[in-house]
Amino acid sequence: MKTLRTLFIAILLVAMAPSQAQTADEIIDNYFENTGGKDAWGDLDGIKIIGSANAQGMEIPFTMIQMKDGRQVVEIDLQGQKMTQMAFDGETMWTTNFMTMEAEKADAETNEMMKKASKDFPSPLYNYKDKGFEVEMMGTETIEGTETYKLKLTQDPVTIDGKEEANVSYYYFETENFVPIATETEVKAGPNKGQMSKNTMSDYQEVDGLYFPFDMGMAGQNLTVKDIVLNPEVNAEMFAFPEKAEAPATDEKN
């Protein structure tokens, strides 16, 4: 009930003085306080998100697990076949090739990026200073028709195609309630390289005291969350690259 009260008070304050200047840290603190409390977010060891990716008549169920130590796995169900779309065990990131349905390791740069993202849980903004990240208040901006605070987050640089590049993203917090409703990052590779890709978040709901968006738009793709389990039970096998059982015997003489 304490959460509700803080949320209530915070919103009331904002409603009374909507244009009061906010610092980046105040916005981030408000966000974590209003969505469950900073301690509760800190105590979280991992989450399991069960949902589906939707596109015009097609629903692809997925289960995503993210752990505090950076391990994660996304499993999808396509025509009854469950497959690991992406997994990372803390060292190795891998995916499933859709032609062969076999596991393949991600390239070194992508793997390195994933490693760097290990400290992002539960959010890169959480204790961002301890992580060595920088946050800057950029002012207010209208996003999805509503007023938001725009925050710039700079994480450790990443290497793309052999060159080091800054790793910058933007968070848009609805001024009325301090939850992020959109994020923006620069596309780092592919035909849209250099352009901004926007994700949106809505349908925030409470799960054991913490608030999560249950609806996410990711670069045109929509993810609907059906259930979230906090601190799920996991085992090492779920994340690990499957060594092929019948790997052909290699000729060791050469």
Partner: protein, 1029 residues
Amino acid sequence: MKRVFFLVLFAFFATTNSIVAQETALKGKELFGDMRARHIGPALMSGRINDIEMHPTNSRIIYTGTAGGGVWKSSDGGATFAPIFDDHVQSIGVVTLDPKNPDEIVWVGTGETWTRNSVSIGDGLFRSTDGGTNWTEIPGFENSERIASIVINPNNTDEVYVGVLGALWSASEDRGVYKTTDGGKSWEKILYVGPSTGAADVIMDPKNPNVLYASMWQFRRTGWGFNSGGENSALYKSTDGGKTWNKIHNGFPKGKLGRIAVAVAPSDGNILYAVLETEQKDKNGLWKSTDAGQSWEHMNNDFGLTVRPFYFSRITIDPRNPDIVVKGGLSGSISRDGGKTFKNLGNMHSDIHDITFHINDSDIIYSGTDGGIYRSWNGGSTFEIVENLPLSQFYHISTDDAEPYNVYGGLQDNGSWFGPSSSPGGVNARDWNSVGVGDGFRVLKHPTKNIIYSEMQGAENVWRYDADRHRTKTIQPLPRKGDPELRFNWNAPMAVSRHVPDRFYMGSQFVHRSDDMGDTWTIISPDLTTNDPTKQDQSKSGGLSVDNSGAENHTTIFTIAESPLDQNILWVGTDDGNVQVTTDGGKNWTNVTENLVGIPDNTWVYHIEASEHGKGTAYAVFDGHTTGDMKPYALKTTDFGKTWKNIISDDIQDNAFVRNIQEDYKNEDLLFLGTEMGLYVTIDGGGNWSHFTNNMPPVAVHYIDLQQWEDDIVMGTHGRGVIIIDDISPLRQLNDEVLQKDVHFFDTEAFTMPEESGFSGSFGTETQFVGANKPTSARIVYYLKKRHTFGKMTMEIQDMEGNEISTLTPGKSKGINVVNWNFTSTIPKTAKGKTFSNSGFTAPRVPAGTYKVVLTKGKDTYEHEIEVTYDDKAITTLAERKEQEKLTKTLFDMVEELAYMVYELGEYQNAAETVKAEHPKGEKVATQFYDALENLRTDLVVTTGDNYVASAEPELRERMGELYSNVATSYDQVSGAQRQNFELISEEFEAAKQRYQQILDKEGKKFMKFLEKNDLPKPSIQTKEEFLK
């Protein structure tokens, strides 16, 4: 508990709603919610480039400042570019990177500097500190209009010099060279010559940042002429960081000078090149100094070095070799002997404004032209175009009523074109068709025949193009005996009649009418202009270098509007400020100019829109920018011009001069205004205006059309091609009452399910711009008073009995939301195999009819009905279609039945496996059961191979899925082959079912008996309903 919690939360949000409710207004960005513009280019002819800037250490990064399309950045060495300046003015003078921190700090000076008649204006100085993602305006340059140079001291990057070329059409004290020593906080003007003389080039010695050169240029343009040159044009040098300046003219001819280009060799600060425009023709062209400007030697006055100095004044020196010099020009010229001799650069679009060398390899050259950026890999011999810069500069556009409709228009220096508003795979370069050469302006489709009218500058040629037979004919009005000389504007007006299809109008100083598509002409007006002789001598235009291209022709008619309600009502606007109207087809004309309110005399009448809502009603917009007056002007009359009312409000930026207005044909209060700074929209007849910024940069909008079948706003922009806002009908329904509602569904007309399928083969288009298509789906449009952030919000399509057809993802934005539904229900559940079956990716289309949209937001439900119809262009009868729908349904059910069978079978197999593993007594029964099932399974679904070339032979699932998918996606009747194939598959399926039943009856029974006997649990199997849920 959770439930209570939510209720409290919602109750609370409901109260906050009422607090913010008072803020709703008829304007603002949020009004448009997620209504977004889409860009269709084209990029194949691209548009004018003003400046190219190379990253000093990372050869992958290139910036370009474009004449009317903003700033673009390449991070792949110039293969492709992305726009990075879309929130700001799109006319760019210069882009400069901080030499110490080039990854992050980018300066942009706005306002193009190649001062042709059609240039746009800038709006100040900007800086990004994050590589171009966010921009801040640097105060002090608000009135600069055109910034030509930004130079940064490499040793101390807080020290920056800015060269302001300044206003083109008026005097300005903002011109000159400015300096900051605190990174842009404060500025000092360190070189100022006078209100008519701006800084054309400011450069810095490569080694000594205290040594600066500045070329000052005296110039002025009017609506009817241009003057380059004067006593004040000069080349200056400073050796003390700009404190003092001295002219360095030793060797230059005496007398007036024009525009001066200057460059210093990056590898040797003593070597300078300058290009001069002088009073002595033989002294024009290239000059060289080898003693840092103390003396000059004339090198070359070839055409390539002297052509049109106001337009081409850029010298680029190879960073590694001071003898290799390139000069912008009609073709561009390159010297490899220190400027003694030149040859043309290789073939590319003409009019080269800037050239840069690769930072490490001089074989690689980038060239900025009137038609985009070109790359050379062999030192400038051959060039290839960058294919994804949609910078096309339209003067005018129009649309037809084809499906999809076409957009027609003419471009600055890039001819006339038409292309589809949508095309398979997106609007590609190859979708565009050329229908005119030279500068293109107005392009109009004959209302009923497949005939296109187009023109080139000054109506030198007006073409009538028979698009079916590919024949062109020139049809411009020609002078007859006794006619005075005809004065056509550079951008001469043409109009087709809504009432008489073969009627075609053109304007010189007279209105010309043809009733036979341009073969014969009648003059139906007196001279409607002021006929002011002082504005009619263009032969001397240009100043030191005569530049009589026709671009300055003046005292001409510029706009002709025939009333859509009456063929005898014609409105005419002239470039020298007259508004004239006739109500009897041209017998009598009334000059109503005197009645205009708040419009300075002789202000260019850029467009008149004759209203659909009343014969006496019209809108006129006025553009004073060629006198230095940038204010927006738009008036409305309802009494044939006797009285006029101002419809501009303070919401419009004060330098956003207006070129076009478009009225909605249904709601008189809904208007669209095309300005120098983008699009504005009003929903209350001009009381309040809102800047439309959703994927719409503040680019100069030269012309707007409303395509009436689709209700699309189509804009011809001068720098970003054609930009479309699909279906503006929701804006018609917006009013105070709607804005007060929490949720409001807008009424939409019935949606046609388009029946079209084809191929889009996209080979070779990897680096090409592809324009976005209009969604062909149903558009569910609603207004949300508040952004939905907390709690569930879902959307479902239901049939009228309330059965779920499909679930959609609703938009959650405050303002207007648009959700697309592609007329399908959900995919069938498909049997599990080793690979994927087509059936699992095919959702059947719904039959025509009425459907319910159910939006659930928290505990509230909102319903709305939409109607869906079959395509008129269908190639089937209704009976055939019903058969197709029926067979689709039968196959859909069959696919799901098979899916359940394979699932159930698999569950039995799992149970058998368990027994095999844990109960040796039952091994035999279990194995027999398992094997029998496995035999069957391998005939039902693919169990081996992969999704590529190691694929197995298709089994029943694959063949059934293929047939289902083919029938479901077909727009034709069910074919005989499909019927026969269906028969075969049905029989096979029947046989499989029988086999399955036999196995269950025989091996299955034994197995179940074993389970029973040993008190083992029966396999828990979902019912079919549960499985399919």
